[in-house]
Subunit: 304 residues, 4 copies
């Protein structure tokens, strides 16, 4: 079977999982998304692309944006970034605040909310208009200018984002947020509101499968070592409190968002994006997780 | 450079790190090991072996034994084992007990002490003489009968193992230990006392690099999928609270012990073992960690 | 109204509360106690006694025994006892283990299980036969030799006491248990199995209302300052995670047990004991708590 | 000895303790207070007042203001206030956030910061100008209009109050803060900035010693039951993580602030205020704590 056939098979075998989870409901813009929408896309380093279902429908990428912001900050600071963020898995969400206290306001990794907020703070210190820089960066990686923020989503996130405010203020009490909390979270809520299709998302992560170099224009985003290390980070920490299970069952470096998207990478080969809004109890797309697992099962390809 | 040359180079570049850490001192048998001992071994699937330094000196493998006991239990129970242990990274040690309470006595993964104690309980329920079965199993994987328990170490572990008793009783209060605590810990302290050389250790993990099949006698230890999954588990959880850092800097699936040993695997290629007693603050061999990082740097080989 | 009339009134107004709670069921000897049994006794310093209902039926005093063991240990060690136990309220049970870890194995106060286990360890270090010494001590305070341990209860406690084993081993890992855990818990489970009536219980605590001196034989148990301080401890920590509420609603220094007993003291006046087996969610007798509140309401007497 | 003689004796015996602690330094207005300032005042229900040292020097009452705001809110809401705040001691500060999470955003009592922030939120919902209402209330209790907020302190508190922002946002995420966080904390930081002398402070708490009725004008602030209950709350929770020790050694219902003040009450008798800026590790005035202990020792008066 070629990838297109595999995608069709997976699509039909996993479509019913959209009935099992619950669509994120904390903001209207997410709650109103039809749960049956389902798209899968694969972008290969050899320029071939494959897709099925609603692969051209834009959705809110939410926490997947943390990969982009971290990449930007890492490319700027290099390993100095580890003075402000650790790179260990985080355990369960329940302990997040006590862990942050125990570790003096240093978040465990860049992909939990606390870590991503520190990353936003770094970008804010470095760029005059970080939201624009970020959007340009994502468009360049996706080789597609048709990517935007959803101002309505950003506003809703802000209104309900009390826990993120708590995290930011808490870290500021340890001196690990340098800019005003309001500004940091404004950037953070904007990044979460970014809207992309699975086609764009798969395309935008190809640099990670390509030793850190954008395959569309040949620009080096990260060096080889950094690119490997970012994939290691995603494998241990990219899927909230299900990272271990994702590594175990799927075996790819990936990142998920509460909008129902998941993106994952096989080094030197391809990038894959899936979108299905209903989430499991740990906040990951039910169908998306299953699709990723079937893909590595059917192809025998994973990092292990 | 071939592997032998690389090992020599690494050996000389990292030997001085033995001055930086602290040898485990909670039991005399570990405290008295000369800190300057240092050995590295590589076992390749093509039967070639390479080694340098004190590669033929036996040492206490301690927590590395958790890989063997888990492999045995996993081969018996298959995925039913996940009813009693989770497969998520564990966050920092500080939270271990509260996390265990929050998760109703289910340890986060098989490689933290709580998880390994449940694995010991499983083996005890399944075998009449699990300590003998385990030793036979390790000898078979290492293709070497010259491997033993150190009764003196086992006795010392028992005398100082109050925290492990606390963990076992705590899990028993949740019903997740089925045998008497005394018996379970007796097996656990024995497994930790196993004595091996880096040559034996590297050799004994080759089945993991070989799709789960013992390359010496062709016996299937785990199936391909189980073998991949165990490597995923080790990558996310094998190095205590430094698993993320090990994945990040080294990029191999590995397991460490407080005796100063580390073993790691590159799928379809090789298994590597290092031993240097002085430990860093997180309980991992300082020189061993550095040696592993240099190896993947010099060879360009890692899972990412 | 005199005390006898008040007791009758309270008895009838609170009897129905026995239908609201749940009898402790973790051991058969407690689970089988008829929930409708209900007794109240008051012992006054002027030698008058009042009682109503099942005041002469013996029941398992459980954690109330912690007052006796602590009194004994405090009378021996004086303020040196605070090197091994703190005297702060403990917050919710949920945090007990993490708190113990954070505070290096020093229990927050003598009335949580961890604290009482340290007290048992102290008694074991001091007496050849601490169980006998304790029983003699209680009989002397109660002025009644008809008080015993229930061996069946002690045995059941031991079989189900995994959490107490976990606590004891955990504290031993910090060096705060000096004797073998098995011996310490043997004493602890025995003290919990002591069987008394509310008449005996009220009588036995009169020394606390009497500046620390046994009113029956004039022997000084504690000095005035120690007696006041023990009452302060009971007020802040005597009722598990409901100590604040008991101080708030009742305003007496008291101690409860999962057998359904509560004993409390008004300085220079009286001691009161109530027994009704059904417990609320926080482990205190529902009817007993209500009866105590009504008593201080009707008499206008409390420490505040 | 009469109270004046006792105060002089205590003053001279405890003055040197001002050398032992550390003045709060998180804001300049506190850091710059001369550590040797030391005043003690007693206000009796029989209208007599006694004082010694710097009893007429105004200082920042800080957390002592929580007694005033809670009294106001309690007088308005009565026992409905317990829907939003619990009344249990809080354990150590270390666990404050995880405890708040475990208990769904309900603070353990009104005297930890989280609880006082909820109280401020209640006052904000009830009054158009709560800061003015509060100031008038305190002036009325102290029978003295010469009491003010220190705008400079309020501003400094706000600039450094990141943890309080974190707490407020965290509780808002559970729905337990109804007004905008900015407004709630503005009131909270103002209340903390209130400036009083020990004379005024002792005088202002007399209503608590007087069954809840202001002894200066006869106005009922709280009813008898509420007044008793507030004293119970203060005894179990008024001194941060030293409440148990204060109850144990002093035996009065009291409240402290990081400005170095402590106020305490003996029912039906008197109110006592002490001020000495240097604090112990748990944030309470070293000399103040000692003075209170000597007072109950010398007079034999305490609630126990």
């Amino acid at each position: 079977m070629n990838y297109q056939e595999i995608l069709h098979r997976i699509y039909h075998e996993t479509k019913h999982f959209a009935n099992h989870g619950k669509v994120a409901s904390y903001i209207p813009a997410l709650a109103n998304v039809p749960p049956e929408l389902y798209g899968i896309s694969i972008a290969c380093l050899d320029k071939k692309c494959f897709s099925v279902g609603d692969h051209a429908v834009p959705f809110s990428i939410q926490s997947i944006s943390k990969v982009f912001t971290f990449t930007l900050a890492y490319s700027i600071l290099g390993d100095k970034i580890w003075e402000r963020i650790d790179r260990e898995p985080s355990g369960n969400a329940f302990n997040s605040l006590v862990q942050l206290e125990h570790e003096n306001g240093i978040p465990r990794n860049p992909f939990i909310n606390a870590g991503a907020i520190v990353v936003a703070d770094i970008l804010l210190s470095h760029f005059d208009d970080p939201a624009k820089v970020l959007l340009d960066f994502v468009r360049e990686q996706a080789d597609d200018n048709n990517i935007f923020y959803d101002a309505e989503v950003a506003r809703s996130e802000k209104e309900t984002g009390h826990r993120n405010y708590a995290l930011a203020h808490f870290m500021k009490s340890f001196g690990n947020i340098h800019n005003p909390v309001e500004n940091v979270l404004d950037l953070y809520f904007h990044q979460c509101s970014m809207v992309m299709t699975t086609d764009q998302l798969a395309c935008s992560m190809l640099f990670l499968a390509n030793h850190g170099t954008n395959p569309h224009n040949g620009n080096k985003v990260l060096n080889i070592s950094q690119s490997k290390r970012l994939k290691a980070l995603l494998l241990t920490s990219g899927m909230y409190n299900e990272s271990g299970d994702f590594a175990f069952r799927v075996g790819m470096s990936g990142k998920s968002g509460v909008g129902g998207g998941i993106v994952a990478v096989i080094p030197q080969l391809l990038s894959m994006a899936v979108w299905s809004p209903p989430l499991n109890e740990r906040g990951n797309s039910v169908a998306g997780f299953e699709a990723m697992e079937l893909f590595t099962t059917y192809t025998g390809k994973s990092v292990f």
